[in-house]
Symmetry: C2
């Protein structure tokens, strides 16, 4: 209960126009999800997230990081505050990752066993242990609409043997995630008040840069009959053609009636390309992280606002963009804010970049609606 | 042209309900002016400044710092961009200080002569020279509605003799500021497009913590017949009773039909007290600076959001506050943002504090309107 996915139309290239129905609302797909790491999309007030991009419809769904919220303020605190939606005052859909990626990329002194991962916090060095069961408990306490199975993210590059071994662990952990989730999913903070609806648990296909392993991983996960499938372990340094190839080769083995989510991608042209290939969901820190570093996305390509050439440029970031930043502020002013280290710089740059990503997906949805690929 | 001040009613305590008419709009007084140091009220988007506080009427007038804008991006650049209003997309009234205070508090290796001040930039150590004439040229290029004479800010504490000497320099510089301003005020960037209206130049009363010098300074400046008078050199470390006493003893000698502006104050109870004594304008970095440090102002006093006791507090910052932050976010969430170093923390804390300051003045204006002191 609390989950459905429908596809209205599939274009020739494989792109699908559909929608996800979740306890906190409907998400038109394909969708880009801004990342709200520690229950905040960095530097952007929730009211602006709701307004900006996609013709004023704003952000449909955001992601929050289980690892960050587990460490600070703690998932039990978030549960007592009514769950992450209420905690951060965001009543639209949300998704939490499993914590796996951050455990493998941010934390220190990891010790992996079949049971789970022992690691030290990147904040204070304190010792913690994450297992599939624990990741589920944390994600249920946070209470996003969609939770993710706990997976191992293999280092890159990795040999076929190493990748297959890691993938095996991921599959075992996916099954344990599912088993634990099914037993405890009624503990989500808003279970009673939302007519006993609860979260949905998505699987994650691994298999590194090996098409045969991707196929095997997809098939193994599909056997678990989860409501949606992510493709993980991509955009970790490999060439873009490889990312694209791995996505294409994995999509072939995923069911057409379930949402497919590529984690952690990408540049605007990438999210557009993958959406047209049949990916329904994507997330990335890029619009906000790039924004904080002065990198802006436009219909004419990337623009580095710190450049001297913009010092007296009275035009907007992107003349074809209708976002509140482009309607109000000049490149000259935005360059000044960045050069002066003004905190408003991160706010405005992030708002524009998010708007640009959401507008991109709105345009792709329009094309797919008309059957154009 | 482009300036008038009217007083509707004066309460028994001396507080005045009035309004300033400036080229960029009308300002209801007494008024608090948030500080937009480098053409940005730190961390707050202009659209929120326009909406927040005073029952949704928002910020009436902001201040920008001549010293900061002179160094970066440079006043000539701002002039070419159409002046500071257009540069930052703020079409409501603005005021620039003279640069004097920052030259004396921020810059390095100052060398003061009757001609002016040589100093080194706090940013890159480069050498600069500010004279009254140069401050006027810079302020005219920036083009705020109100400019301030260039004054010397004496160190504190200072002897009577040292203070009197410094005050003498300030008076000579005020006259030179006025002479230069009168000659060049038609060079303001928006002179033609605003029917040949221009800026107004306010004087600054100095005299340290000596009532006799404050009186002498006020009288000398009043002879110069400027459209408004500021009281400078206060809130620089002296006890609050002294600040209050100096304001009271200076107000006695300032004309009742001109606006009186106390620079750089203060806490909410101070701005309320001074407004009720007859001060018409005040500015301070406190709402934004305190906000960035997690200090929030409320109807129940100050609140330090970093405290553990707010970790699970589901109430708003201030239950009597109607600002967008208090309507949407809990103390628990705001504490989490601060503790996690999230950039949104500075945005939301600053927005609330500005709203609290503006609401305070709105309430005082209401009282004065009814003749209550």
């Amino acid at each position: 209960m609390g989950f459905s996915f429908e596809v209205d139309r599939t274009a020739e290239g494989g792109g699908r126009r559909g929608r996800l129905r979740l306890p906190h609302g409907v998400v038109e797909t394909p969708v880009f999800m801004p990342v709200g790491t520690a229950a905040s999309v960095k530097a952007v007030p929730q009211s602006l997230l709701e307004e900006v991009g996609a013709g004023g419809k704003g952000t449909q769904i955001i992601l929050a990081n289980t690892y960050h919220l587990y460490l600070r303020p703690g998932h039990e605190l978030v549960r007592r505050m009514g769950g992450v939606h209420r905690f951060m005052s965001w009543e639209r859909p949300m998704l939490t990752d499993s914590g796996g990626f951050q455990v493998f990329s941010l934390s220190k002194l990891r010790k992996i066993s079949p049971e789970g991962v022992e690691f030290r916090s990147h904040l204070d060095g304190s010792k913690h242990f994450f297992s599939p069961e624990h990741s589920m408990d944390v994600q249920i306490a946070l209470g996003a609409d969609i939770a993710m199975v706990f997976d191992e993210c293999v280092e890159t590059p990795a040999t076929w043997e190493r990748t297959r071994e890691s993938m095996g662990l991921t599959h075992a952990w996916a099954q344990r995630s599912k088993d634990h989730f099914e037993l405890h999913k009624d503990r989500v903070p808003w279970f009673s008040e939302r007519q006993e609806q609860t979260q949905s648990l998505f699987g994650i296909v691994q298999g590194g840069m090996y098409a045969d392993l991707r196929k095997e991983s997809a098939e193994r996960l599909v056997e678990m009959d989860l409501p949606g499938y992510a493709i993980g372990g991509l955009a970790v340094g490999e060439p873009r053609e490889v990312t694209r190839e791995m996505i294409a080769r994995t999509l072939e083995h995923l069911p057409k009636d379930k949402p497919r989510y590529v984690m952690g991608v990408g540049y605007p042209d990438e999210i557009e390309e993958y959406a047209r290939m049949g990916v329904d969901m994507m997330d990335c820190v890029l619009p906000t992280r790039a924004g904080r570093h002065g990198l802006l996305f436009t219909s004419q390509g990337r623009l580095n606002i710190k450049k001297k050439e913009y010092a007296e440029d009275q035009g907007p970031i992107d003349a074809t963009c209708g976002c509140i930043v482009c309607r109000r502020y000049t490149r000259a002013y935005l360059r000044h804010l960045f050069a002066s280290g003004e905190p408003l710089s991160a706010v405005l740059n992030s708002v524009h970049n998010i708007a640009f990503y959401l507008d991109t997906m709105e345009r792709v949805r329009g094309d797919l609606e008309r059957g154009a690929s």
